[in-house]
């Protein structure tokens, strides 16, 4: 089976053609760099994403956060849900860990901005 994907590795957005056998990518073409090939392989077998959202302080001030690495795509809503239930205490510094293990993915969530000094 052949699948067409668009690489999300960078803004070039290369159009990838992937030969798939038994749910695995056996060959990738159309990529400009290695990232595209890796992206196609994971996208076919187990797609992952980095999630960015905001966590709130007790006063409702949003603090931007991200997952420190990729999480399985189907876990996005669970991860965002857990971040929403977490209250952030100020001050926070860029890089401070808000959650150690987001929704059992083993991936941490960190602040992406220093707020309140």
């Amino acid at each position: 089976m052949t699948r067409e994907l668009t690489c999300i590795g960078c803004p070039m957005g290369c159009e990838l053609t992937v030969e798939v056998e038994n749910g695995l990518a056996v060959s990738v073409s159309g990529n400009t760099c290695k990232i595209g090939e890796n992206y196609a392989r994971t996208e076919i077998s187990a797609p992952v994403r980095t999630v960015t959202t905001t966590a709130l302080t007790a006063d409702g001030v949003p603090v931007p956060v991200k997952t420190v690495g990729n999480i399985p795509k189907e876990k996005i809503f669970e991860v965002v849900g857990q971040i929403k239930r977490t209250t952030v205490a100020l001050p926070v510094k860029l890089g401070d860990i808000i959650l150690e293990d987001a929704a059992g993915t083993g991936v941490a969530v960190a602040a992406t901005k220093s707020v309140g000094s």
Binding site: L5, T6, C7, I8, G9, C10, P11, G13, R49, T50, V51, T52, T53, T54, L56, G60, V61, P62, P64, K66, K73, I76, F77, V80, L94, T112, K113, S114
Partner: protein, 420 residues
């Protein structure tokens, strides 16, 4: 009256990078005026990742990218004044500012870097029938509400325009629990990056309706829904294709325009193609010692290109302050031709140019297996082939100075399509 060697208007990524570059060139008597209450500009509300791949070789979020620069501004001791709005500027670089701490004041500068960024096309500029009920926002306003103020504007959303901010907001609203019914785009292609279509729409099953538009808005006080229809090649709605989407929120993502009220009052010549100042290869406007960079000059999609451009503006401003004469010789015009919408710069002083010259532009449509060609009359100065050129990506080409000797006419930038 306070006097500065260099005044930088705007503390976004462009203003910060220009200030850092000038400081590194030995300009100590400088200041950044920023009307907001923090440095970073629009990046503070762009909490998604995808910034800085070129500059830092890693994917940062907007606030992270901004903090790398604001940390440097602070470490280098570059003075910046927040909550300070620049109201007016004259041709001899007298700048009127107002701030809560100092009140109204006029300062004078030897050189100025314009870095005011851009703003969104206001909704009034869009020709949609119907009332203007509550619930209609520009995508950028909604982005600020959600990401900086923690306010979610609605539960059921339609987005008009598929620019990147609209795509990013489709995902953002979805993650905040809203139902995004559709992204509606007038053109037959999206003006946003493909990666954003994948990550922001496809991932969440949000339909992208190309060659469609919103023809009517329902609801008087509060938005109740919108009518969407397909359009023909002349962008006229096609009868019988109307479809009704109930929604409480309509986000408009219909493009950005450089913020140039100030430039106008200073007598700076603006380009009808970019809505930004016309500049030469050193990013100097028609007023000596006034430089422009970032989104105030032309709308960028990658902040990395903003920072790089701003470094050149800052360095050239520093050279000017140190007494290097402005551009010399007779300029040639740099003109967009087939397939090219605009060019920055729009004039070029080959004689006094640096070793290499950047020309940045956008194409007018989607071109596959084509070439970028720069020529002066019959003479070809530059040629580069590409697999695909799209309007959503700004092109950046670099021409070596030795190619630019003895120009005897205007320079044209065009796209040469592959023979069909």
């Amino acid at each position: 009256m306070r006097e500065f060697d260099l005044v930088i208007i705007g503390g976004g990524p462009a203003g910060m990078a220009a200030a850092i570059a000038a400081k590194k060139q030995g300009i100590d008597d400088l200041v950044i005026f920023e009307r907001g209450d923090e440095l970073g500009g629009i990046l503070n509300q762009c909490i998604h990742n995808g910034f800085g791949l070129h500059t830092f070789k890693e994917e940062l979020t907007g606030p992270e990218y901004a903090e790398r620069y604001s940390d440097q501004v602070k470490e280098l001791g570059i003075p910046y004044e927040l909550g300070t709005m620049v109201l007016d500027m004259t041709e001899d670089k007298q700048i009127s500012i107002i701030s809560r701490s100092r009140g109204a004041e006029t300062v004078k500068a030897k050189a100025v870097v314009l870095a005011m960024g851009c703003r969104e096309r206001p909704r009034g500029a869009l020709g949609i029938a119907g009332f203007r009920p509550q619930g209609v926002y520009t995508a950028g306003t909604a982005q600020k509400l959600v990401n900086c103020e923690g306010v979610i504007p609605g539960k059921e959303v339609v987005i008009l325009g598929s620019g990147d901010i609209g795509l990013i907001m489709a995902r953002r609203m979805t993650l905040e629990g809203a139902k995004v019914r559709a992204v509606v785009e007038l053109m037959p292609y999206s003006s946003g990056l493909k990666r954003n279509i994948v990550q922001c729409l496809d991932d969440y099953g949000i339909p992208l309706m190309l060659s469609h538009t919103v023809i009517d808005i329902k609801g008087k006080r509060r938005l109740e829904g919108v009518w969407v229809a397909a359009v023909d090649e002349k962008n006229t709605p096609i009868k019988g294709t109307e479809e009704y989407f109930p929604c409480d929120t309509l986000l408009l993502s219909c493009g950005l325009i450089p913020e140039n009220e100030l430039s106008k009052s200073a007598g700076i010549e603006l380009s009808p193609l970019t809505s930004g100042p016309t500049v030469d290869e050193s990013l100097e406007t028609n007023i000596e010692g006034v430089f422009a960079c970032g989104n105030v000059l032309h709308v960028h999609d990658l902040v990395d290109f903003v920072s790089e451009e701003a470094v050149r503006a800052g360095e050239n401003a520093a050279e000017y302050i140190k007494g290097k004469p402005s551009s010399t010789g007779v300029p040639v015009a740099v003109k967009p031709a087939d397939g090219v919408r605009y060019t920055v710069p729009s004039r070029l002083y080959a004689e006094s140019a640096a070793d290499s010259v950047h020309i940045r532009f956008r194409v007018t449509g989607v071109f596959k297996n084509s070439a970028i060609v720069v020529s002066c009359g019959e003479r070809e100065l530059f040629r580069k082939r590409g697999r695909i050129f799209v309007p959503s990506e700004m092109q950046d080409i670099i021409i070596k100075k030795d190619k630019l000797s003895e120009l005897d006419g205007d320079i044209e930038v065009r796209i040469e399509e592959a023979a069909k």
